[in-house]
Symmetry: C2
Subunit: 134 residues, 2 copies
């Protein structure tokens, strides 16, 4: 299985029913994973065509690691697998949004945090610094 | 103003208080915008260093358009400006998450949809197709 190329017909691309993911020059598409219950953004990673296919066929989030240059299933080592409840695509079909449930210990970040986004930007004495919030 | 380069010290990068955004080879960092009230993912775009600075200094989301090769403020034409309530950064500081409130007509997508993610993937007769949900 592979995906049809993106339509050059903008109305079809933006309003059609055909799923034609637009991979970038490296063959990748960004994927945002949020917690299906809390709505929090858990992590951000990349998918190649095969990772999208693996995610669709297994219902578990698969990504492509740019550093390891291979596909990986989130949680393959940690057990913190992401069960995909819903996948949405954006208007021009070059970004995916996955609403997921985290198995295992329920943490999505390799640091042990629930979400990779555990720090926020705050301004102190006119300088932007990070503050841990989760 | 510019940002310090990413630390090579992993604990500092992942657990420190210094904001050192890691821009990619094109000088860009992905930015996810969610609605601060509903938690929904509204849009995804890219920021260069100047767009991050403009966002921090104005409190309104600025991005870098790869097609137009210039900075733009979301809503500069439509009026659907994104007021930034909070910015978070992920573990390795190469992705930003903005919690925003949408001004104007309250729609974040250029198509007129509230969110760019108005279609979900569904399987019909063994084929993955898109279904409009918002």
């Amino acid at each position: 299985m592979s995906f049809p190329p993106p339509s050059r017909d903008k109305p079809a691309l933006e309003h059609g029913t055909e799923f034609t993911p637009a991979f970038d020059a490296n063959g990748l598409v960004p994927a945002i994973a949020t917690d299906v219950t809390t709505g929090k953004v858990l992590m951000f990673a990349w998918m190649d065509s095969a990772a999208v296919e693996a995610t669709l066929s297994t219902g578990r989030a698969h990504f492509y690691s740019r550093s390891k240059k291979r596909q990986w299933m989130k949680g393959e080592e940690s057990g913190n697998v992401l069960v995909v409840e819903e996948i949405r695509v954006d208007c021009d079909q070059d970004v995916l949004w996955l609403a997921v449930k985290v198995l295992g210990q329920g943490v999505a970040c390799h640091t042990g945090a629930e979400s990779c986004f555990y720090r926020r930007l705050v301004t102190r004495d006119g300088k932007t610094v990070l503050e841990r919030i989760a």
